[in-house]
Amino acid sequence: MISVPLGLRGISKSYGQVQALKPLSLEVAGGEMLALLGPSGCGKTTTLRAIAGFEQPDTGAIFIGDKDVTELPPNRRDLGMVFQNYSLFPHMTVGENVAFGLKMRGTARAERDERARKLLAMVRLEQFGDRQIHQLSGGQQQRVALARALATDPKILLLDEPLGALDKNLRESMQFELRAIQRRLGITSILVTHDQEEALTMSDRVAVMSAGQIVQIGAPAEIYGRPATRFVADFLGTANVFSATAVAEQGAGLWRVALSGGEPIEVALTATKPLSPGQQLTFAVRPERLAMGSPEGTGLPARIRDVVFRGSFLTYELDIEGRDTPIFVYSQGRTAAAAGSTVRLNWEPDCAILLEAGA
């Protein structure tokens, strides 16, 4: 299969007074899986529906390969799409569902059946061709939907919250399976999801969307480790956000800053933007990057309010003097520190992510 790139060049969409999509440009490389991640109403679904051809963008153009498809109806864009509720045709058998796209293209029956069999084998459902849709479990329906979307050898695969209706365990195993199939076929894919874990697990790049625009785009580790704004930091996992004042630079990008609230305490962070002494700033530290040390050591003093056992890790909820919102720490420690005890928090300077730098 030849991987085809997808290009969105300045597409926008308004519904009445509401601008659902601000002019948005995005280049997806051939064979890449890109996730559009964001809360509901952020414009990710509108973007997907514009690519599919269900919504006509007000401005801009959509390119599949080097072909402008902006004006083409959905059936002539050569796409595969998996819907959240699978949208399998209840009046057709599993095999007929998979072969539907080929039937619409006028493929001969024998070839259609052969191809449907092959696709069903790919999703490990080869025995289910003659079953009715309602006889399948949710996970099986999901795989049929994927087989149906891929049967016509589409140029682009669109996944609209494809695993949203599955339970947690099944969702995790399907994430890997879907990802493996996508890689093997090398099909350019767009995944729309509000589940950050799904976006991070499945995609090559993640575009975080908010209020009709892309806030940050990059590889999962980059987005998670270096969120550009507080919104991204909060939306992808948990982030402990601190307000501080820059004190002095201590070498290439390494700054000492004084935490606001209570008594100012100096800590270190790695700056991603130019800073000057005295500047107000906010930075975030991921809960798993915070280390708890003995109260006699150095670091930020905190008091453990609560400890929650989470299976593979422990979640600590800590109070810091002069701060209203609690600090979260994820720890792999085998013995839990008791609630009520005092600790000191430390982090590596490059784990403190500078979010906003004000005047």
Binding site: A52, P74, N75, F100, M104, Q132, R148, T152
Partner: protein, 295 residues
């Protein structure tokens, strides 16, 4: 559902001897059963007996049934009744389906208005409605005046004396039944099914034909059965608009009862209509059941 369960549960748990007031008692069906017995089962049974005992049937019990089915004149009317109903059903379906589809898929907030326009004719008296058509379609009625003014016709067309007016009147009355039956089913069909068909390469029409239409067959079956059965027995429209041009069983029953006063024969025809209606409903029930198993 939860409300019913929570009320029923203590009733089941409580021993009967306490004589607690139970909501789920079969006794509550009694008024309906008595009413149906007195005003449906008894008269229908009497009608059945009448059809095999009165008049000509006194000598030979099935004389009237034979007459209706084998006498060329009567069997002609018998078949004509079904022909009229069938044509009306098909025309109603053709008129009603697009309306239903539009209402469900595109009307949005206009849905209520369209629904009102559909039901409004049902709220006016059938006699008013029927004479309305006579006024519109009369020799010097609105339609003829317009067509003449537009120069489309030289002489007024005589619709009033053409059987077509009966069909116009019937379709007018029947369309709401069809539309409501179909919208009920269409509303349950996810738009995304059509969208997935579109992404898979189906054009608008193909997507409709291969997904929405087959999934709405239930509604079509219900609507058609309803229209067919009601048209079979419809009387006033036939009488007031047909004026003898279209002869159907219901008109014949009226004649036999009021003019010829052959009550036995009228009862026979009534029974035949009833059996036809029951057959239609049974057929539709089978159709729905078969589909039900498939789903």
């Amino acid at each position: 559902m939860t409300a019913v369960a929570s009320i029923a549960a203590p009733a089941e748990g409580a021993p009967r001897k306490r004589g607690r007031f139970r909501l789920a008692s079969p006794l509550w069906a009694a008024p309906a059963i008595i009413f149906l017995l007195a005003f449906l089962i008894v008269p229908l049974s009497a009608n059945l007996i009448r059809s095999v005992t009165l008049g000509e049937a006194a000598q030979q019990p099935f004389a009237y049934y034979q007459k209706l089915l084998f006498d060329a004149y009567y069997s002609g009317i018998f078949l004509n009744t079904f022909k009229v109903s069938l044509i009306t059903t098909v025309c109603t379906l053709i008129v009603g389906y697009p309306v239903a589809y539009f209402m469900v898929r595109y009307a949005g907030r206009w849905n209520g208005l369209i629904l009102f326009c559909l039901i409004a004719p049902l709220l006016t008296s059938i006699i008013m409605r029927t004479f309305g058509w006579r006024v519109l379609l009369a020799r010097r009625g609105l339609l003829n005046v317009w067509l003449t003014d537009l120069g489309l016709i030289d002489r007024p067309i005589d619709i009033l004396n053409d059987p077509i007016i009966v069909y116009i009147g019937l379709i007018h009355v029947m369309v709401p039944f069809m539309v409501l039956s179909i919208t009920a089913v269409l509303q349950g069909i996810d738009v995304r099914l059509e969208e997935s068909a579109r992404v898979l390469g189906a054009g608008r029409w193909q997507a409709f034909r291969s997904v929405t239409l087959p999934l709405s067959l239930d509604g079509i079956a219900t609507g058609c059965t309803l229209v067919f059965v009601i048209t079979n027995g419809s009387f006033l429209t036939m009488l007031l608009l047909g004026g003898g041009k279209v002869q159907t069983l219901s008109l014949l029953i009226y004649q036999q009862f009021n003019l010829t006063q052959d009550v036995g024969f009228a009862a026979t025809m009534g029974n035949v209509l009833l059996i036809a209606a029951m057959a239609c409903v049974a057929l539709q029930g089978r159709f729905l059941k078969r589909k039900g198993i498939k789903e």
